[in-house]
């Protein structure tokens, strides 16, 4: 694996040019700050000490204004570069995430946590911005400008330079110490904090329960109590941070005080320097320290950002580790070129196929399995036996770890992927309805260009005509997120309509277990057999009639294909199968 690079270093490598520009601008900014102090002190010197006429220093004043403008513009420039870098980094991170998620195998997305992944793509990436828009520009400024200032002060008046040089390192050191100490304290209290912080949401979510049990009033006190406890715990942490900041400010004050004491002594006692120089140094010193202080805040936001980026990195990495061989296989294969599959159902064969989601999870193993074209296959087994996994393996939705899958006698990998999927329809237990019109949702089932009458035909075959006919906008009604909600049965029939439109050679069907209305059940029974007339049909079966009518039943237990055959054969020779069918029926009849 050549990919040892971290996400951050990868992101940084894109920013090299911006970093150079940033350094250049920072140098100019340093010069402007110094120039401003020099010109300002010179102007005051002329007016106050030398009693110069205003008109004689017009040029000086003009230059001062120009330098001030330049300083504001240069600072703006640095900010702009930071924003540019941040936008670029965010784009790259999101692109990586999107590509990763889109290229995952089905097993990875089946893991749920959709909300978590989406929030990672939005919030964590946004949090990562601080590193580029704040941390980097401030750090470069703090690395470049104070050095410049020190050089100038040394050249003009080295004793002040020495004081600055000696006191300066305390600031970043102290800042880091503050950060670490606060972090430690907050880690100690993290459990407590999260407990208090969650009470409000917890109470809102349980509001109905609280009402029904007459506890809504007392919960209000509970919220107050935990909010105040949260305040006190947080204040405990903040107090440490504030005390340390207080110490830090004292150091800065002390240093500035030291410089001014030294300047005053030089001016009055030793009379060894001019007002001009002294005022110049006095103007520069606070700027010097405030630049150093900035690094502290930048350091903090940099750390938060790096934490967020690590989370993004984890998701990217996690996917890589999971089912490694599989992912490689799908990406290595050309996929988009190769043999085409005809419109006829292919012969499907599995030899020694093994699959595992993760090293410790259950194994699926199929020694040999042949599915004839046009066959009606039912996969049967207890929940968690690996039925859906087997279905996904046959369909090429999951990459096998070893062994091979052949279509018409040739390895699956030799075929153009899209030609395989084009001839396939999949009716899942919980079909997903995309946000869009009903017509669009049906048309998603095929890649052909279809006209409205074909869509209507498919909907009618799936028993949706009556429902859609009753809608004001008919097929143009918006459904899915932000549109009208469909019942479970209607979703199921919509998935059927997709299949009718596609006229597939292979149909995958994960039969719903419960909760369908009588009408949908009837439609399913009738139209599935109609669909399956010309196609291979592979069903994860939960209905006895499906099983009875199957040409081949695959009985799966603990990831193993324990037996296959027709219903009557299996009832006779496979006790586990007979028991399952028998027990379930008995339990219900009671």
């Amino acid at each position: 694996m050549k990919r040892k690079q971290t996400l951050l270093s990868e992101l940084m490598s894109e920013q090299r040019r911006s970093m150079i520009v940033l350094t250049g601008v920072s140098l100019a900014l340093g010069a402007a700050i110094i120039g401003q102090a020099a010109l300002l002190s010179e102007a005051v010197n002329r007016i106050f000490v030398m009693h110069a006429d205003l008109s004689s220093i017009v040029f000086l004043l003009g230059s001062l204004l120009a330098v001030m403008l330049a300083r504001a513009l240069l600072a703006y420039g640095n900010g702009r570069i930071g924003l540019y870098m941040a936008a670029r980094a965010k784009r790259t991170m999101r692109e990586k995430l999107i590509r990763k998620l889109a290229n995952d195998s089905v097993s990875a997305t089946a893991g749920g946590q959709t909300g978590g992944k989406v929030s990672l793509m939005l919030d964590a990436v946004d949090e990562g911005e601080g590193y580029f828009s704040q941390y980097l520009p401030r750090m470069i400024e703090a690395a470049v400008i104070p050095l410049l200032m020190l050089g100038v002060v040394f050249a003009w008046h080295y004793p002040s330079g020495i004081i600055m040089l000696v006191t300066a390192p305390f600031i970043p050191i102290f800042m880091v110490l503050v950060g670490l100490k606060t972090k430690k304290k907050s880690e100690e209290k993290v459990e407590q904090l999260s407990q208090f912080a969650g009470t409000f949401l917890d109470s809102l979510q349980g509001l109905v329960t609280l009402k029904l049990y007459g506890r809504a009033r007392s919960q209000e006190q509970e919220i107050e109590r935990s909010s105040l406890a949260f305040r006190d715990a947080t204040m405990g942490i903040l107090k440490i941070a504030f005390t340390n900041t207080f110490m830090l400010e004292l150091i800065v004050m002390l240093s500035i005080g030291l410089v001014s004491l030294e300047l005053a002594l030089q001016l009055v006692v030793f009379q060894s320097m001019s007002f001009h120089t002294a005022f110049f140094v006095l103007l520069l010193v606070p700027e010097f320290f405030s630049l150093l202080k900035n690094t502290g805040t930048a350091f903090h936001s940099g750390r938060t950002s790096m934490g967020a980026m690590r989370k993004v990195e984890q998701l990217l990495e996690e996917r890589k580790g999971e089912g490694q061989t599989g992912t490689e296989r799908t990406t290595v294969q050309p996929g988009e070129e190769g043999l085409m599959l005809g419109p006829m159902p292919p012969n499907i064969q599995l030899n020694d196929v093994r699959f595992q989601y993760a090293p410790d999870s259950f194994k699926l193993y199929v020694e040999k399995l042949t599915i004839e074209p046009g066959g009606k296959i039912a996969i049967v087994g207890k929940s968690g036996a690996g039925k859906t996994t087997l279905l996904h393996l046959i369909a090429g939705l999951l990459p096998s770890d070893s062994g091979d899958i052949q279509l018409n006698g040739r390895p699956y990998e030799m075929y153009k992927r899209s030609s395989w999927f084009e001839g396939m329809s999949y009716i899942t237990q919980h079909p997903y309805i995309f946000s869009g019109t009903l017509a669009e949702n049906i048309a998603i089932g095929t890649n052909r260009a279809v006209n409205r009458s074909e869509v209507e035909q498919a909907a009618a075959s799936a028993g949706l005509a009556e429902m859609i006919g009753g809608l004001e906008k008919g097929f143009d009604t918006l459904v899915g997120e932000g549109g009208r909600g469909l019942s479970g049965g209607e979703k199921q029939r919509l998935a059927l309509a997709r299949a009718f439109l596609n006229q597939p050679a292979v149909i995958l069907f994960d039969e719903p277990t419960v909760g369908l209305d009588v009408h949908t059940e009837k439609v399913l029974q009738r139209s599935i057999s109609e669909l399956a007339e010309q196609a291979t049909m592979i069903t994860v079966a939960h209905r006895l009639y499906t099983i009875r009518e199957a040409d081949l039943i695959l009985y799966v237990e603990n990831g193993l294909l324990l037996g296959s055959g027709k219903h009557d054969e299996l009832v006779e020779c496979l006790p586990a199968y007979a028991e399952m069918v028998h027990l379930q029926r008995k339990g219900r009849a009671g």
Partner: protein, 574 residues
């Protein structure tokens, strides 16, 4: 705008902390200005070669000012944060009180989880209103005015200049930023929402997209909306940066003007030259104190947006009708009658119930069956007065529900909802929700009855019961209802995640306790219904059949067909 009233009220309650914070902030601000002005004056004085002791006095003043500034800054930080968290606590309790009458009505939307999380987030962003929006300008204006007063001792003109600067920095610049920001931040929010929806769709619909070969297209779409978001966010950042730069330049310009004006006044002889450096230092420092003003517009907009959304959510809650005085008798089993009841959820496009007639005599047991989405749960919600029917009448003990106080119904009802909520705490905490005092013995007995003999009362329950399996949650919910008791049992698929053996064990206990009580049971399985007094069969919001098990089976109608379908099911279905 009620939420701003809540906010103001909350801030007023914390007036002591706020006053201390303001005093601290004011002293710190002035301290900074004095510190640098004094140094400027100190340096200028040296030109006249003053005696050493004046110098020492001056330097000591500078040191003391530095210390004072650091101390008061510390106090300011401490008290502003203290006040912020106290305000948050008050906001939470006030909003909670407002939301209580609204549940589940207005809070019931397709993605109610998101809605609640949003409310929590919005309340939290309101807390920033004090620290980042309300507080800084007040303190800043105080510091500015003090500085102006100080400057006016030396020159009224320079004081005027500072006033001008203050107006620009505190009012005009933030107003300009806010102006441009409104649109851009709106667009950022829109793009964020779009990206979030697209990404969610891709993940949820992954299987379909993959099989139907639409994944590439979706990926492309997502990349585009990610790019659009990055550009909009950059634009928003630039807008804020513009403001900051404008702020910086204005403060430089004022300092420069002080220099020129000071020079002119010195030339005219109306200002002593020794004060020039001091006034310039004062001007430079006072604007540095104003740095918080540059980020103010961003926070202001966020908290305004949060307040607006909260207002939209909470609005209807205020119009909640007063509850009538009459209450349901809690010592006997009630009779229930629904006549011509229709109901439609506000966010749904078709009615959940249409012209429903049900009669459940006191002390009888009724089961409601039907496909998911057929309106079973809605009946229970209406019986609990969580919603009011659009048409028709519901009576309990012959009294219309609208004449009964909702709390009296809840008090006599033992309820298990389809989605029970559990709170962070112990099993005991989650059982004793009704506040009644049951003995340890009785509580443990309830756990055993509900099929949780292996749980101890002190076992921890995480938020939303995350450490419990679905089956355990259902049993705990049943235990909760059994612990509470009542003469009206409303149970919505209480055992859907349990196996048949456990289910039957629990039902035995339950029916024993509920003997003589009125009971409505929604069930997902059609088995074990033989003993029910009536079975109500629902389809698409209407009642298609009702009767005893024997009657319905003899009739060979809808129920019979459902039974036939269920007989076909094997596998997880049972």
């Amino acid at each position: 705008m009620s939420e701003l009233t809540i906010l103001t009220k909350a801030m007023f309650r914390e007036r002591k902390d706020i006053a201390i914070a303001m005093a601290g902030g004011f002293v710190a601000g002035i301290g900074g200005v004095s510190l640098f002005s004094a140094s400027g004056y100190l340096i200028s004085q040296t030109v006249f070669a003053p005696p050493l002791y004046t110098l020492i006095v001056l330097i000591s003043i500078v040191k003391i000012l530095g210390l004072l500034r650091a101390v008061s800054r510390y106090a300011e930080r401490l008290y502003t944060h203290q006040a912020t968290f106290s305000i948050l606590s008050r906001l939470r309790t006030s909003f909670f009180a407002k939301l209580v009458p609204m549940a589940p009505g207005r809070l019931r939307t397709q993605r109610s989880g998101d809605l609640l999380a949003r409310i929590v987030g919005d309340v939290e962003s309101l807390q920033h209103y004090f620290l980042r929006v309300a507080y800084p300008p007040v303190v800043l204006v105080m510091v500015f005015l003090a500085t102006v007063l100080f400057a006016s001792v030396y020159s009224i003109w320079i004081a005027g200049l500072l006033v001008l600067g203050m107006l620009v920095v505190v009012f005009i610049v933030p107003a300009i930023i806010l102006q441009g920001q409104r649109k851009i931040r709106g667009r950022v929010r829109q793009q964020r929402a779009a990206l979030s929806t697209d990404a969610t769709e891709m993940l949820y619909g992954f299987l379909e997209l993959k099989v139907y070969g639409k994944l590439r297209k979706r990926e492309q779409q997502l990349l585009e909306s990610s790019d659009a978001l990055a550009s909009e966010q950059r634009a928003a950042g630039l807008q804020l940066l513009n403001g900051q730069s404008l702020h910086t330049f204005v403060s430089f310009l004022i300092a420069w003007s002080v220099l020129v004006l000071g020079g002119y006044l010195i030339m005219r002889g109306s200002l002593a030259g020794v004060f020039l450096a001091m006034l310039i230092m004062a001007a430079l420092t006072v604007f540095e104190e104003a740095a918080a003003m540059a980020t103010l517009p961003a926070y202001k907009q966020d908290s305004q947006h949060a307040a607006q959304r909260l207002a939209e959510t909470v609005q209807d809650g205020e119009a909640e009708p007063r509850q009538p005085e009459a209450s349901l008798r809690s010592d006997t089993a009630p009779s229930i009658e629904l006549s011509g009841v229709s109901f439609q959820y506000a966010d749904e496009w078709r009615p959940a119930l249409r012209d429903v007639h049900i009669r459940i005599p006191a002390g009888s047991k009724a089961a409601i069956v039907g496909a998911s989405g057929s309106g079973k749960t809605t009946i229970i919600e209406l019986l609990l007065k969580l919603h009011a029917p659009n048409e028709g009448l519901i009576r309990m003990n012959d009294t219309p529900l609208e004449e009964l106080h909702e709390a009296s119904i809840w008090q006599s009802a033992a309820v298990v909802l389809q989605q029970s909520h559990f709170f962070r705490g112990t099993i005991r905490d989650n059982l004793l929700l009704n506040g009644d005092m049951l003995s340890e013995e009785e509580l443990r007995d309830v756990l055993v009855k509900a099929g949780l003999p292996y749980k101890s009362l002190d076992d921890l329950v995480y938020e939303r019961g995350e450490n419990l399996s679905d089956g355990e949650k259902q049993r705990l919910a049943l235990a909760r209802a059994m612990a509470k008791g009542g003469h009206l049992w409303l149970l919505d698929e209480p055992t859907s995640s349990l196996d048949v053996v456990t289910e039957q064990h629990i039902y035995r206990q339950l029916f024993e306790q509920a003997a003589g009580d009125t009971l409505v049971l929604i069930c997902h399985r059609l088995s074990g219904l033989e003993s029910m007094d009536q079975i109500i069969v629902m389809d698409q919001g209407t009642i298609v059949e009702a009767g005893t098990y024997g009657e319905l089976m003899d009739k060979e109608g809808f129920f019979y067909e459902m039974k036939q379908i269920e007989r076909q099911l094997i596998g997880e279905g049972g």
